[in-house]
Amino acid sequence: MELNQDWRKLQSTFFPSIAPTRKGAASSPAGAVYCIHDQDIVTLLFAEGEDLSDWTGASLADVRSQFSNRVVLEFERKALEASLLSSVAQPHLEAQIAQWREDAQAKLVATAAGHSVMLSPSRKDQAFLDQWFITKKNFLLESLNGSWWARVLPSAFGIFLRFEGLSGGSAGSSTKEFLLIYRKGQLEQFGVPDLGFIGSDRRKDPEEVCKYLADRCMVPVQAVLLREEDWLKWASEKNPWSEIAWAVQSSRVQLVPFRWSVVSLIASRGLLGL
């Protein structure tokens, strides 16, 4: 048995650093204040690292006035709850959070310097929103989920990642593995794959592993072999694709099986910036 949705491993593998990096991080005194309200009465006031529990029950006008030097992002309680309820159909928390953000942003009211603005998720407002919603982004998940790649990739596929040269030497082995399964453009399964049913010799061979996983999950699987130190560096960068493209060329990153189509996808991102 294995965990098909290993949230913890997903977090530790794809988001190794949880420190917010954007300008005006919420933990600073100037960070945004997130307010859930019900008919202009505050249900909850939230800001990272601050205890604002005393504001529950206050009026929205008071909050705007008190925090006029900060950005206040206002969420209508009923709309938020409707979003939470409808999101239970999503396969996992990553997708659910994305839906909450999307739904919230569609109806979000923000006050900055005491002025209220209704925001729309248009390109113009997106920069503003991105400033206050730390979307924990990983270059690989972002490309697989939300880019034009989705239009050219098969409807169902798997990515098998093998990290070599672990510094911590966990689990008594020097490699760490992770499997992502996408179906209909959505991340469906994620976690450490169960390779217990294939022999240790076959397990060392990424081609054999790919065949085994493809048979078991009934999707084509692409294996990517890379060093953990490289992964940790790239995972903290916004767009490491050019480095990855060079790493593929110099065989520092190996693709198994080697597919030109995959190489061209990486190159188009890394070298052409598409």
Partner: protein, 663 residues
């Protein structure tokens, strides 16, 4: 490291969670060997419903066998619980897809819980489909236990313990109400099926002889619209106990020689009062609200479940995939220590995810394990002084409970059954306060009165919620038939004071309490009750932001733990009612030699507590000791009269030894 002592007493209050289903069989064995190497001898594993239904490779049996081969004690949590890192918290997807199986809040909306790896609706335990499927889950667990014995022999189960919990009942609350205060607003579930069951149970209960006196028509008064909320609370409490009992009966009847333990398991990260906060932290990408989690630890430490009248240990669970994991190391250490002190010192403890535990520094783990061992051996324990009997454990106790718990903190507790008063633990309680929503039968009143006569103070409401028999009994007391001395008083609330034997009975006006709905009224009344019961806090901090947890030490003296839940250094004075000797407790717990010990004698001590720090002190207090020896007299040290306004501030001022925080 946790459990490093192989001769550690069974039932450490600090247990690590290693879920067998998170590993494939080969890795599982490796993992157990690693745990052995790290000195772990006792682990807890959740048994998700869906994992059991899908366990075609008999992983549970293999796990038990592998653990038995390594002499590892295993506690299997076989009640549905949240935050267990399994999709839908292990509840089968098809159950959650049936609208009739979903729990509804008072607004008729499904209750949604954020429990990584996903957010899902909460099922209704009262739904017939849920109960049917749950029964089949229990059968499958039983099947795997038998399978384990078949594979490895009877010894496989010798170190296995099945843990039954109160399941989802404690989470049936509406976030929009509980955001004000964790247990505010209507609790319980409101599905049409539950309403039908409520009606049936009401009919059944109030057809009992005692409720039909003096005439059969008398039973109707218990079924009126105004009684709905009171009856609902009773019904929810009864249903929870019934759910527990059914599971216990099943295993008692079916399973092999496996020990069964009833506990309460509470995960603050999925509490409804934390729901919006968690949503905002996930949407914004910010870390979780530490202060809310810290407050919820207090709530967990104060609510005491009972099963068939027996108190069960309360356990607090810190998961590896929720809000806890997003906190800083300092904050996580603070929460672990706080929960261990509050729950471990009263027969409960802390469950913590293995990866989270081993991510903490070795020195912190060593110190925490030392404390856990002291608690397991009964060296330190939390002696609670006041008890609040509510009709439903997971409902609000109103202004009276807010005031009582606010004043006494960890010295107060909430219960939901008078049978608790017959337990050994209740022997140390000095004050019992009964919520106005409790219905009294004759037997209950007699039980309470007899408990009171043994030198306690009991406050009961004067309300209409007495059966004829109970009303008659109360009338006898109030009219002086039982030769009690009576005083009519008005402190906050109008109440009558009756001296009964060595105890005191207070009958307060529930109607006046309801009418006033004022915290000030409750404040004055609680102050009066504490005065009657002679309950005083043994010490106090001049800065109220600091929390003090006082534990009694078996070998004499007290352990005083000062907690700073803030992100900045707080300086304060620790004030006792008389001169005491204090030492650095951290030294003692770490096994420092007697020569290294340094003590200080004073009445006031100046302390500086670092951010999220926990400062342990050993207090030797001759007066406190003599008070304990005269427990029946219930005399407790009082704070100096000038403490409140600081007029005695310079008297006996001394710096505390070391001021060395523990984390």
């Amino acid at each position: 490291m946790l459990g490093i002592q192989r001769n550690q007493p069974v039932g450490s209050p600090l247990r690590i969670v290693v879920n067998y289903w998170e590993f494939r069989p080969t890795v599982l064995v490796e993992r157990l060997d690693q745990l052995i190497q790290r000195g772990v001898s006792e682990i807890v594993s959740f048994v998700p419903w869906q994992a059991v239904e899908a366990d075609i490779s008999h992983l549970l049996s293999k796990f038990l066998q592998a653990a038995a081969d390594r002499n590892i004690s295993v506690s299997l949590v076989v009640s549905p619980e949240l935050a267990i890192a399994y999709p839908n918290s292990g509840i089968p997807r098809d159950v959650l897809q049936k609208p009739e199986c979903l729990a509804l809040d008072a607004d008729g909306q499904p209750l949604v819980v954020i429990s990584a790896p996903n957010s899902h609706a909460l099922p209704s335990i009262l739904s017939a489909e849920f109960l049917k499927r749950h029964q089949s889950y229990l059968q499958r667990v039983d099947h795997y236990l038998h399978d384990a014995v078949k594979r490895g022999g009877a010894h496989v189960l010798h170190r296995v313990r099945l843990i039954l919990t109160g399941s989802f009942w404690k989470y049936y609350r509406t976030p929009r109400h509980s955001v004000f205060s964790a247990f505010d607003g209507p609790s319980g579930e409101f599905t049409p099926a539950s309403l039908i069951q409520l009606r049936n149970r009401i009919e059944q209960r109030f057809s009992e002889q005692e409720f039909c006196e003096p005439t059969a028509a008398s039973s109707n008064r218990w079924k009126t619209k105004s009684m709905e909320e009171i009856n609902r609370r009773w019904f929810m409490q009864q249903s929870e106990e019934q759910f527990r009992s059914r599971a216990a009966q099943f295993f008692n009847r079916k399973s092999l020689s496996v020990s069964l333990e009833q506990v309460e398991l509470y995960t603050p990260e999925v509490d409804p009062s934390f729901h919006y906060s968690r949503t905002m932290s996930l949407i914004s990408g910010a870390k979780a609200d530490f202060s809310r989690l810290a407050d919820l630890v207090d709530e967990a430490g104060q609510r005491h479940s009972q099963v068939s009248g027996d108190a069960v240990g309360s356990w607090l669970h810190w998961s590896g995939s929720g809000a806890f994991a997003s906190l800083s190391t300092q904050e996580r250490q603070f929460l672990i220590l706080k929960s261990l002190l509050l729950l471990g010192a009263q027969s409960g403890g802390v469950l913590i995810d293995a990866e989270e535990w081993f991510s903490l520094s070795e020195s912190f783990r060593r110190r925490t394990e030392t404390l856990a061992r002291s608690l397991a051996q009964g060296e330190y324990r939390l002696r609670q002084r006041a008890c609040y009997w509510n009709s439903h454990l997971w409902s609000s106790g109103g202004n009276l409970w807010s005031e009582l718990s606010g004043r006494l903190g960890s010295l107060s507790q909430m219960i939901a059954s008078d049978q608790y008063l017959q337990s050994e633990a209740a022997g140390e309680i000095d004050l019992l306060l009964v919520d106005p929503t409790v219905i009294f039968t004759g037997l209950q009143l007699t039980r309470i009165l007899s408990w009171t006569r043994a030198g306690r103070v009991t406050a009961i409401p004067r309300s209409l919620l007495y059966t004829e028999k109970a009303r008659h009994e109360l009338q006898r007391i109030l009219s002086g038939d039982l030769r009690t001395e009576r005083l009519d008083l008005h402190v906050g609330l109008p109440f009558e004071l009756h001296v009964m034997g060595q105890g005191k009975l207070v009958v307060y006006d529930a109607h006046a309490l309801e009418k006033s709905d004022s915290p000030e009224v409750a404040r004055q009344f609680i102050q009066a009750l504490m005065g009657l019961a002679e309950i005083r806090n043994p010490c106090a901090m001049s800065d109220e932001r600091l929390q003090v947890i006082g534990l009694e030490r078996q070998s004499g003296g007290r352990g005083i733990f000062i907690l700073n839940p803030y992100q900045k250094v707080l300086a304060s004075e620790l004030v006792f009612s008389n001169e005491v000797v204090i030492e650095d407790l951290a030294h003692q717990l770490e096994g420092a030699s007697l020569d290294d010990r340094e003590d200080f004698k004073a009445q006031r001590f100046h302390l500086e507590i670092p951010p999220c720090g926990v400062l342990p002190l050993q207090v030797m207090d001759a007066r406190w000791k003599s008070d304990l020896e005269q427990r029946e007299a219930s005399r407790r040290p009082e704070l100096p009269s000038g403490f409140a306004d600081g007029s005695n501030a310079e008297e006996f001022l001394s710096d505390a030894p070391g001021s060395r925080p523990w984390n």
